[in-house]
C-alpha cells in the first residue's frame, strides 16, 4: 500500500529533476525519506508553491561569493515566505538571502533594514532599453545612486502572487564558496518556507539568465 503511494511521488520527483536539468522545473520535493517528503508535499500543496527560472551565476575562479536566482509562484490562497536557503558545505559555507537596492548617492550609512514587503526590489530602469528619460539620470550633480546589498530576513511570496529573485534585486547569496560555480553543473538548494516547509531545487549554473 505504501509502496503504491511512493511510486507516483518518485515519478514526479524524477520528472521534475529531469526538467530541472534544463533550468525550468516544478519544485522537486525533498524525497530523502518517504515520511518527511509525504508531509512536505501536503505542506507545499497548502500554499501551492512552484519554482521556475532558477539559475546560479558562474563564478570567477577567484570569487568567494556567488548568487542564485529564481521565481516563486504561489498559486495557493495562503501567503508564504521564503525564510532561508541552504546548500551542502561542499558548495558554500554560508547562504544568505539578500536584496540589492538602489540608494540615493550621498546617503549616509543606512541601517540594516530588512524590507520584504514588495516582491521586486526597487531598481533603476529595470529591463528598459534605456532612454534619456530614465529615472536613473538624476541631475548629474549629486552623483548616481549606489547599489547596496542588504541581508533580508525573509522574502514574501503572497497568495496568488510571486516572488522574483533576479540580478539587481532579491538573490540567494552563496558565501565562502568551496569551489567556483562552473557552467553546466547543477547545485541543489534547499529552500525553507514558513508555510510550505522545505523544498529542494535543482539549480543549473549558467553564464547568463535563462
Amino acid at each position: 500500500m505504501k509502496a503504491m503511494r511512493i511510486a507516483p511521488l518518485a515519478a514526479i520527483t524524477a520528472a521534475s529533476l529531469l526538467l530541472g536539468a534544463c533550468g525550468e522545473s516544478e519544485t522537486a520535493e525533498k524525497a530523502t525519506d518517504t515520511e518527511s517528503s509525504a508531509s512536505e508535499t501536503t505542506a507545499a500543496a497548502k500554499s501551492a508553491l512552484s519554482i521556475s527560472g532558477q539559475w546560479a551565476r558562474t563564478s570567477p575562479m577567484v570569487a568567494s561569493a556567488g548568487a542564485a536566482y529564481l521565481t516563486i509562484d504561489n498559486s495557493g490562497d495562503t501567503d508564504d515566505e521564503l525564510l532561508t536557503a541552504s546548500v551542502d558545505a561542499s558548495i558554500a559555507a554560508k547562504v544568505e538571502l539578500h536584496e540589492t537596492v538602489a540608494v540615493e548617492g550621498g546617503a549616509t550609512e543606512s541601517s540594516m533594514m530588512p524590507t520584504a514587503e514588495s516582491t521586486e526590489a526597487p531598481m533603476m530602469n529595470t529591463g528598459a532599453t534605456g532612454s534619456a528619460e530614465a529615472p536613473m539620470m538624476g541631475t548629474g550633480t549629486t552623483g548616481a545612486p549606489m547599489m547596496e546589498m542588504r541581508p533580508v530576513t525573509s522574502i514574501a511570496a503572497p497568495a496568488g502572487g510571486q516572488a522574483i529573485l533576479k540580478p539587481g534585486g532579491y538573490h540567494i547569496m552563496l558565501l565562502e564558496l568551496a569551489k567556483p560555480l562552473e557552467v553546466g553543473t547543477t547545485i541543489e538548494i534547499t529552500l525553507t518556507f514558513k508555510e510550505a516547509g522545505e523544498m529542494v531545487v535543482s539549480v543549473p549554473v549558467r553564464d547568463t539568465a535563462p
Binding site: 575562479m61 577567484v62 552623483g143 549606489m146 546589498m149
Partner: protein, 225 residues
Amino acid sequence: MKASFRVGVASFSMLVLLAGFSIAGCGNKSETANTSNSDKPIWATELAGISREPSLDVSELSLPNAVDGTAQVFKADPDGLLLLYFGYTSCPDVCPTTLSDFRVALEELPADEASRVDVAMATVDPDRDTGELMSSYLDHFFEADQIHPLRTEDPEELSRVTQTLGVQFSVAEHAAGATEYDVSHSAITYVVDDQGLVRVEWPFGIDSQAMASDLHLLLSNYKEK
C-alpha cells in the same frame, strides 16, 4: 498539471534555443564573426544609454593598472571604445551581472567591432582587491588583452576620478585583513571614446542588446569621420 506541462515544454524549447545561443557565445571568448544568423540585430539609430551635453571630458584622468602600476588614461585606443566601470570583486550580484552583460553585448557585435572595445574595471575596494585577483576576475569574462584592472591605494587619487564622473561608493569600516564587509557603489558604466569623451553612460539594468546597439553606433560613427 497539464497546463504546467505545456509551459514546461514551451520553456524547454526556448531554453534549447537559448542554450544553443549561449554555447555559441559564452564559452567561447575567441573572435567569432556574427555571420551565422540571418536575423541579425537591427541596429538602433539612437543611443539607448544616457548622454550628457556636452560630453564629459575624462582624458585628463587616469588610474594605475592594478598589476603593473602604469597609468591607464581614460581614453580608448584610436577608433576604439573603453568601458569604464567601478566595482569590486567580492560583489556577487551587481558587478558580475554588468560584466556578463558586457560580454553578451560584445558577442552581439561583429568581431572587428568587438575587438575595438576594451574593458576597464576600477576597484572601490583596494583592501581586498589585489591586482592578481582583479585580473583573474576580469579574465573570467573577457579576453586578456581587452581588460584593464585599475586600482589605487590612495583614496584621494580614487576620489578625484570618482568625483569627476559622479561615481559614489562607500566601504564599511573594517579591520586590516578583514574579508567580509559591505561595499556600496554606483553601478554606472561610462563608455569613453578615443578622445577621452564619455559618449554614453549605462545605468545598471540596461540590457545587453542596448549596450551592443550603442557600441555599434559609436564605433560606426568613427568610420564616417
